[in-house]
């Protein structure tokens, strides 16, 4: 079984793999089966995220603080991942922040093309430690004028429409 010289990657080697086109499926040249998963969940929000969501409903952004490392964190968590201990206190953060990074996105999550870009961003929340951001959207802004370091504020849904969700903030706009 001793193979002195290995097999060279030459064109003579036949590699397996039969490529199909979408036409092959449309024209029924290929047999196939289909399935739509019935996979539904009710994830328990728990202590930290439960309180975070309740904060949104009340129009507040909440963070947590660890006295050991001194960090004020958002999104909140029940434990400090660096110190591996429970967090010490809840802190109400401000409704303003700084754009840490962003993107101008011309396709939706399910790959549909849009003309006006969605502007996703990581926003460092004022009142939390430096670098503590959350992912959200920017609005009421010319896409060409968005910059890293830009100051933005949260635009909330009216209190009656808030349901305790990240989407209770409609978007963030420059101020």
């Amino acid at each position: 079984m001793r193979a002195k010289a290995g097999v060279k990657q030459t064109p003579e080697i036949q590699y397996a793999g039969t490529g199909l086109s979408s036409k092959d499926f449309k024209e029924g040249k290929i047999l196939c089966t289909r399935w739509t998963a019935d996979a539904k969940y009710a994830w328990d929000a728990g202590i930290a995220i439960g309180k975070y969501l309740a904060g949104f409903k009340a129009g507040k952004i909440l963070g947590v603080r660890c006295i050991k490392c001194g960090r004020t964190m958002v999104p909140p968590r029940a434990f400090c991942e660096w110190c591996f201990k429970t967090v010490d206190s809840w802190v109400q953060l401000r409704n303003t922040g700084i754009v840490n990074t962003f993107s101008l996105c011309y396709v939706t999550w399910d790959v549909k093309r849009v003309k006006k870009p969605e502007i996703s961003a990581v926003i460092e929340i004022d009142g939390a430690s430096k670098g503590m951001g959350i992912m959200h959207l920017l609005g009421e802004v010319d896409p060409n004028k968005v910059r890293i370091g830009m100051k933005v504020k949260a635009i909330w849904k009216p209190a009656a429409e808030r349901e305790g969700a990240i989407t209770d903030i409609k978007y963030w706009k420059p101020y």
Binding site: G6, Y15, A16, G17, I30, Y41, S103, W109, M135
Partner: protein
């Protein structure tokens, strides 16, 4: 400390947009070819390690069990490892600890991905990698986070898009010589810069294509390796690291988890000066900027310096430090876990001088392969040498 582990065989399928073969059949072809390449049969294999990325792509829950027969795992110790996009390179680490532990002497490492099963487009499956409560309601797109990471990287170091796209130009050209490449097409920097903007700064040609495919390696302990081949490729170092899930709390300009993983692997391999002791690199390149990001994390250059190195031609196949001579994910295709393993397979062929038209001009004795995944969070690194 543990027994030495070598790669002695490799095999792969073509990477295609939509494969007629089932995932099991793809896995079989790669596995069969890997065994044949070192003239071994399944009876000589002690264990099987399988890597495959999200189950939602193939649309099969417990995908590892489902694929196991195609990977040669019938009646054998078999486990699947999983670290998102980092899986392909991690599966080699999994194979490594199976043998280094002394429990096994031989091991198959198989990676498969059949992303075309997901309808209507695999991209949408990525919605479910985000936090279900704090992120998914925003309907995030996978491109968002990469575009945001790329933007942060470019802004922090003042990098030009014109320089970054040179990676895609190089890798897509390299792939012209790869018989398994899905998209073998030379493109110019202008082509890329003029391609459709998906999520600025990411454009269509900055991104690797979605693919189906499988790759397999045969690993063996020193005593077996010496019997099987004259040219074992040794696994000299392995490393992996997983950063926090709170990705919006990290500075995305630098992949610290890759550095941690690389340090672990280099320490094991006795590499103290990666820029000179590593002769060839296959960093993970699903997007052009990622190759640069990862070269920096692998400490093959200073922070923010990788674009210039690329522009200077150092990373070309005939350059001083060839990077992704295979054509990488950008050129060959990106069946996630299989693409990662393809990188290790490429180093195997390059180090043995068997890479055919892709063979780098320099004499290469030590290489590094790396993959990355999760929420821009995991680094998996393997150093191999002859």
């Amino acid at each position: 400390m543990g027994q030495r582990v070598a790669i002695v065989g490799a095999g792969m399928t073509k990477f295609v947009r939509r494969a007629q073969e089932t995932g099991k059949e793809l896995a079989f072809h790669a596995t069969r070819m890997a065994l044949d390449s070192c003239e071994m049969n399944l009876d000589q294999i002690d264990a099987v390690c399988l890597g495959t990325a999200p189950d939602t792509f193939d649309g099969v829950h417990m995908k590892g069990e489902y694929l196991s027969d195609g990977a040669g795992a019938w009646g054998k110790p078999y486990m699947r490892c999983y670290v998102g996009g980092g899986t392909g390179v991690f599966s080699v680490i999994q194979g490594w600890y199976h043998i280094a532990s002394g429990l096994c002497d031989t091991c198959l490492v198989v990676c498969e991905e059949k992303m075309s099963s997901y309808q209507p487009h695999a991209q949408a499956a990525f919605l479910t990698i985000f936090d279900h409560t704090t992120e998914r309601p925003l309907k995030p797109n996978l491109l968002w986070i990469f575009a945001m990471e790329m933007n942060r990287y470019m802004t922090t170091y003042g990098l030009r898009k014109e320089d970054i796209v040179q990676v895609a130009v190089k890798n897509k050209r390299n792939a012209l010589d790869h018989p398994c490449a899905q998209i073998a097409k030379a493109v110019t920097a202008e082509d890329i810069l003029n391609s459709e903007v998906l999520a600025w700064p990411v454009q269509r040609l900055d991104v690797s294509p979605v693919s189906d495919g499988a790759v397999a390696l045969v690993l063996a302990s020193e005593s077996i390796a010496r019997k099987v081949t004259d040219k074992p490729v040794w696994i000299e170092g392995v490393g992996w690291s997983l950063d926090t899930a709170y990705w919006t709390n990290r500075d995305l300009c630098y992949p610290r988890y890759v550095e941690e993983a690389a340090r672990m692997a280099y320490t094991m391999a006795g590499v103290t000066d990666p820029r000179h002791q590593i002769h060839i690199a296959e960093p993970y390149d699903p997007f052009d900027y990622k190759e640069l990001h990862h070269m920096e994390g692998l400490m093959l250059c200073g922070k923010g310096e990788a674009p210039q190195m690329t522009v200077d031609g150092i990373t070309q196949r005939d350059g001083e430090l060839p990077v992704c001579p295979s054509g990488g994910l950008l050129g060959v295709g990106n069946p996630i876990a299989a693409a990662g393993l393809m990188k290790v397979a490429e180093l195997f062929w390059q180090l043995r001088g068997e890479a055919g038209k892709r063979q780098v001009s320099r004499k290469v004795k030590r290489g590094v392969a790396q993959a990355w995944g999760d929420l821009m969070q995991v680094g998996t690194v393997v150093v191999v040498g002859i």
